[in-house]
Symmetry: C2
Subunit: 414 residues, 2 copies
Amino acid sequence: MRVSHLFTRTSKTAPADEVAKNAQLLIRAGFIHKEMAGVYTYLPLGKRVLEKVTQIIREEMDAIGGNEISLTALQHKDVWEKSGRWNDEVMDVWFKTKLANGTEIGLAPTHEEPLTQLMKNYISSYKDLPVYPYQFQIKFRNEVRSKSGLMRGREFWMKDLYSFSRTQEEHDAFYETITQAYHRVYERLGLGDITYKTFASGGSFSKYSHEFQTLSPVGEDTIYVHEGKKLAINEEVYNEEVLADLGITRGELVEQKAVEVGNIFTLGTRFSDVLDLNYTDEDGTSKKVIMGSYGIGPSRVMGLIAERFADEKGLVWPENVAPYKVYLVRIGGDEAIAHADKLYDELTAKGIEVLYDDRDERPGTKFADAELMGIPYRVTVSDRLLADEKYEFTPRASGETQILTHAQLLDTLG
Amino acid sequence: MRVSHLFTRTSKTAPADEVAKNAQLLIRAGFIHKEMAGVYTYLPLGKRVLEKVTQIIREEMDAIGGNEISLTALQHKDVWEKSGRWNDEVMDVWFKTKLANGTEIGLAPTHEEPLTQLMKNYISSYKDLPVYPYQFQIKFRNEVRSKSGLMRGREFWMKDLYSFSRTQEEHDAFYETITQAYHRVYERLGLGDITYKTFASGGSFSKYSHEFQTLSPVGEDTIYVHEGKKLAINEEVYNEEVLADLGITRGELVEQKAVEVGNIFTLGTRFSDVLDLNYTDEDGTSKKVIMGSYGIGPSRVMGLIAERFADEKGLVWPENVAPYKVYLVRIGGDEAIAHADKLYDELTAKGIEVLYDDRDERPGTKFADAELMGIPYRVTVSDRLLADEKYEFTPRASGETQILTHAQLLDTLG
């Protein structure tokens, strides 16, 4: 992509009412636009990041047998009344509206009920289980406060997978399988080292649920990290019982601020009870399906990554989620232009994603934009180095420039 | 994908309240699920079709300089009040709801206003133009009646591109460019031969708008087709004036029923006037930006294709949008199973998308499912033909079975 074809531009300032650092930076760099608190438009660069995060999650869900679907935002109230969650006091984030004929409907803040109802069409025998449908879908949550940028949205992207299993053992095995898949997701997102499987409060059907918490100074959650065991405990269950269960002591733990980037939850028969989702087992008896739910918010993850890795110059994207891998800058006259055009075509033909700053701007402006946008590698073609066919190569994270030959450059980016 | 891993199943019947043939077939084949009138969940097979339609449109929009973004469903009323479209009598398909603090907001039925407002951040000079942002987004429209399955949704997918141009000439040139891109889209969707650029009523800024109409016996629109010129006239503007403009006579036209699968519209300064979207031209003067809007509904297109090509046995997908290219059936014992497993791996490794019916079902059941789902090519591995390493190969559209060798099969599918 040529910067001249990108309609966004960078800005030195963010909207005055935007207090979250992730949103401030993403708005200044032209990745998102604020429609209202917790509601953001994704501009071309932001859309690319969101797609990359989404695709990493999709690949890992497909790899463990996930079936991608897409449920609806508009919801009839019947199944939610059966579960008790239509009531605004029980589920306090509903947006509700009306059909033209006056029927009250809601915008789904989550999808356990409609999916459980839907699966009644497809689950009747033990042969139909287990199954793992999932989706990437826009969720609507009418949060009273929404001041954390992409990290707490009123309209936001969620990956939610639901497991439908025959037995507790089958459920437990999948729970472990998806735990490992989540670790692979965070590893690929560049968050592996700082993300911990965290014990949190369970429900009627399991003692604990599990969150994936990424260490961050601006995190809303407090967790207690056991570095040796690569796990953590959410403060809500930080007590003698959980320490005993895990065989660890307070002295081994370090208190940290963190952001919840995923959660996995044993639902048991909470929804199959109220919506009558049963299957006939091999022995002919009717049994309740055992369920679990597993969420990751791609837009929240994007906000977290933006905020977590940023420095005083702007965003710093891990390579796997960066909108482009290379920011190509040209400095100089016709010769530099022709040379940079050629390099752009060459890298693009090799499948390397390049954002090519083909504008007639001062070098300082181009460098500042490259830094604010956080593209992992800046490559500079300049009159000065052209004679030797050499290039400046500057990783965004280190900021340390090397001078590379053409062969070295291709080798480094390859 | 193995059919045993697909959680959906086919059904001999559709819900009694579903009157649209496209939705009846798609529900029976397990592609979609009806949540309420005009609101459908996409199940794994349906999600794949929707993605393929989407990807074809995306590639053609990118090829003409489109910039993909994603606007928001939730909308503050301010910009819509400025354009006069917040009023439910002017725009009669609003779903409206409220933020927790009582502020009234709406669910976007279209996006001219918020995008025009957004572009004020990025357009100030003639150097910033032209630009062509577009999105795939869920639109919400509170239709009083919604009985056409995927063809008229209350919650549905739309691709909407908007052009921002300096002059009428620049606008007109892009209008022609995107007209050609639309023709390529319908060609790739398998609708090229039966889709006509159709003259329809314009607005304040152009005499005509243009629809793309696909001939279909169940179409809600009546158009008059000129086969020689590959164009049509919508009955709403079928008069002497348009005939004179096009230099054709009534005698050359054939009346047809058709479904609108896309539309392109000159907005002129309708929105840049009310929202003050201006640019400074090269001569220093301030001018209004000229706009256009260009829509295609991927979910409607999917419904149309489902309905248009279906026969008495079920769906018949054009290859480019089929969820899988091959439906692999195995008939017989261990040897047939081992052989089919191997062929499945071989075809999949070649990048051919195969839905492998690995169930222990009667051949008749498998064949009927293959036909109902409309997968373009059925390949049958059976005990009978194994000895010669031969296969039954049956295109869904013709239903004519050939016996092919392994080499011939790979050649045909390659």
